[in-house]
């Protein structure tokens, strides 16, 4: 089945620095979703990518889906303290929206 590995596990940055987390799979993914979970909170949906090579932007966040649909990345430009949290990638293997397989997450801390 589809599984995703996420790196790095932790990332500590100075405010204003950039941040990138990577999501990799050994099999072709039907789609990839990204979630953010603040400390003590619950996952919040950020975006879904479905097309090969797709790039989407949300303000300072840039999401990419690889050409082979086996990897994805989330890049944050000029981090802010509000970006603190754990970022998860997840795949919906049946494209039904009901079952997600999550990566291990990347915990981002931002030093002001």
């Amino acid at each position: 089945g589809q599984q995703v590995m996420q790196i790095p596990q932790y990332q500590h940055v100075q405010e204003g620095e950039d941040f990138t987390t990577y999501c990799n799979s050994s099999t072709t993914l039907s789609n990839i979703q990204w979630y953010k979970q603040r400390p003590g909170g619950h996952p919040v949906f950020l975006i879904q990518l479905v097309k090969s090579g797709e790039v989407k932007k949300q303000k300072r966040l840039t999401f990419q889906f690889g050409e082979a649909k086996k990897n994805s990345s989330l890049h944050i430009t000029a981090t802010q303290t509000t970006d603190v949290g754990t970022y998860f990638c997840a795949v919906d293997p049946y494209n039904q929206g009901g079952k997600l397989i999550f990566g291990q997450g990347t915990e981002l801390s931002v030093k002001p």
Partner: protein, 110 residues
């Protein structure tokens, strides 16, 4: 509009007991999914229900069961609790492929 709601927010149980967790999806959402999130890990899929029928089940023992009611709310039941069942239990309702998570129930098994 209200988001996904879950109750209780926190729960402490002892080994061997059972627990019932409740979830109300966003109005109009007919699909509910349950996840277990152990500290430091990503959520793990437990169940999905759609229109009161089980649509999917993750790799969890039979001690875990769930059901969905006519108003689309759902219950997750766990019997014979083990220390390893301590986790954040998340409920999510789905519309158009997007999952909306509730705040979760933090279960501690002593």
């Amino acid at each position: 509009d209200a988001g996904v709601t879950q109750s209780p927010t926190h729960l402490i149980k002892t080994r061997g007991q059972h627990v019932t967790l409740r979830c109300s999806p966003i109005s109009g959402h007919k699909s509910v999914s349950w996840y277990q999130q152990v500290l430091g890990q990503g959520p793990q899929f437990i169940f999905q229900y759609y229109e009161k029928e089980e649509r999917g089940r993750g790799n969890f023992p039979d001690r875990f069961s769930a059901r969905q009611f006519p108003n689309y709310s759902s219950e997750l039941n766990v019997n014979a609790l083990l220390l390893g069942d301590s986790a954040l239990y998340l409920c999510a309702s789905t519309l158009a492929g997007t999952q909306y998570f509730g705040p979760g129930t933090r279960l501690l098994v002593l």
